[in-house]
Symmetry: C2
């Protein structure tokens, strides 16, 4: 009998490790390859950063409640977010789309309106792409390219013991936004006449449908001459991203629940669904905020920025990754982010 | 009533024009954007070339007769071919795949075996990517990055009147290979017990399933100090590509049927299907040879290379794009390449 390992047994990150474990880089210009938010390529004075994302209808987005313009915007932003997470500045994108014949030119125009709005907002150029038909559903592939001064890019693997663990903005809103939209979709399917009740939830829904990348944070680092010691963007949930830093930097960490930034709107919305807002922040994902570590001596600079929260610190690896809850309990941090592979 | 334009009314190239007509490049480093084989980005001394392709099961490939290893190889090669078509040298790729749960890890390993074989053969590094599930079918997105000495990249729009029109290798084989495989698939579906009869057709089938990119031709140009005045790779058929040069360079051309290189194997195979080998070369596509123009003074250098055929020359635009048939007839050249958009 032929051997068969289920992909679900490996999980997404296990699969990527599996598929890329034998790579040996051949070009001197390939400074950093698979395993971070983006690759780094040397180009005689500046370094080029490259990242790519594949978005598939029914897996990453639901067109029942996702306006195409927002989808175009978000498709670009999630890639730019990966470039910023390298402490780099995005400069170009290429975008490929596949679509079935149910799409009209007007529909694609709407999608591209969002793409161009994001390009304009972030100052990046759309320089290429591909279009194709698809057998089913809408498929989007974006590759973003950015640049960074030599050796200023920030990896996941270079945090040090004692470094402060920080996050930008607030977390958990996108996941609550998804819960609202999924609830209204269910009601709509059961009773098509009923109008969606999303009043007062614009913030959390906006965070899901039209996220922004934290360009301003990377600009703040440059202005304040802060060099983060590690950084990622939060696509899978805070826990998952912090565990990447711990694993790749070979460290443990302490995370304080009461320091995790959650907006008032997110707390109120979580209350309606009777779920814990902290769980949304830890495991919800799609917030596209930055999680990063800085040296302790940068504390005074970091706290000047209202949009940055210090949420914990890095420890020796033996202590593991832990969260101190509001009640003072100490628990191991586990990743329960959205895992598209298990769907 | 809401306006609705069918995508089929625009065609693939019309759609791309439509979607990209308002782009204004913002970054000084974006030297060349949408509209060629690849984009060109300046990086302080060298220029970076970027291209991307989206391949969708059931649209671009059929897994019934496409070994996954060949598919991985070809997915990389078709992108490298676009980099070579810019007169550049590929250095890195990123690759994203989407797949349904019918795929096992072993199946993906086979695919990646082909990806790595192509990377190794062409000296490029796989530096990133993304994996995702898909609702249906296998989806592959590859972005290739290359470099070129400043201003040595070759566009489609810079051919001059009197330039020689040349192609590398031989044409039409991939299309005949496809006809064989489609025939055997039909027989297999009707009578699953019957063994495929592909004896003697290894060449044409190999050209379809496992094409190579013409790295050697670009190296020949460098060694001989030949700067082509325009160049494309042949993915949609010779006619379609020549018409791109004519349109973008605002020229006409004369193409001689008897000069179009077609292999003996392709002629024999075309005979079995009772189709014209010239039609396969003109409209078949997927050959991944290079079509390019050079100045007349480069003729002596070009003819030294056995793998290059001079097939015609560029004329003033008023004369249009014409083909002189073996019988001496003169016809307008029309594009009838594989058009995935009309399927």
């Amino acid at each position: 009998m032929e051997e068969r390992t289920e992909i679900a047994d490996l999980g997404e990150f296990g699969l990527i490790d599996h598929l890329t474990k034998n790579i040996e880089l051949q070009n001197a210009s390939s400074i950093l390859g698979v395993g971070d938010d983006a690759a780094v390529i040397d180009h005689f004075g500046r370094q080029t950063v490259v990242t790519t994302d594949l978005l598939v209808e029914g897996v990453h987005f639901d067109l029942i409640y996702t306006p195409l313009k927002h989808l175009g915007y978000k498709s670009v932003v999630v890639n730019l977010s990966d470039i910023y997470a390298m402490n780099a500045v995005p400069t170009q994108i290429v975008i490929s789309i596949g679509f079935s014949n149910r799409f009209s030119v007007e529909a694609l125009d709407e999608f591209y309106e969002g793409v161009y709005a994001a390009c304009s907002r972030y100052g990046v150029d759309l320089v290429g792409g591909d279009t194709s038909s698809s057998q089913k559903g809408f498929i989007i592939s974006v590759t973003a390219i950015g640049e960074v001064s030599p050796d200023r890019f920030v990896k996941r693997s270079t945090a040090q013991k004692g470094d402060l663990l920080c996050v930008s903005g607030d977390l958990g809103a996108a996941y609550i936004g998804l819960l609202f939209l999924e609830r209204e979709k269910k009601i709509f399917i059961e009773s098509p006449g009923v109008q969606p009740d999303l009043e007062g939830e614009a913030y959390v829904i906006g965070r899901l449908l039209r996220p922004e990348a934290r360009k301003d944070i990377v600009e703040f680092f440059a202005a304040q001459q802060i060099q983060p010691t590690s950084m990622l963007d939060i696509s899978d949930g805070l826990s998952s991203e912090i565990l990447h830093i711990c694993k790749q930097s070979e460290l443990g960490c302490v995370l304080y629940e009461d320091k995790i930034p959650v907006s008032e709107q997110t707390r109120n919305a979580a209350f309606k669904f009777e779920i814990d807002p902290t769980a949304c922040a830890l495991s919800g994902g799609e917030d596209y905020e930055l999680v990063f570590t800085v040296k302790q001596e940068d504390y005074d600079k970091i706290v000047q920025h209202e949009g940055i929260s210090v949420v914990g610190y890095m420890t020796e690896p033996e202590k593991g990754a832990t969260i101190i809850t509001k009640g003072g309990g100490k628990h191991a941090l586990t990743a329960q982010g959205w895992n598209h592979m298990n769907k």
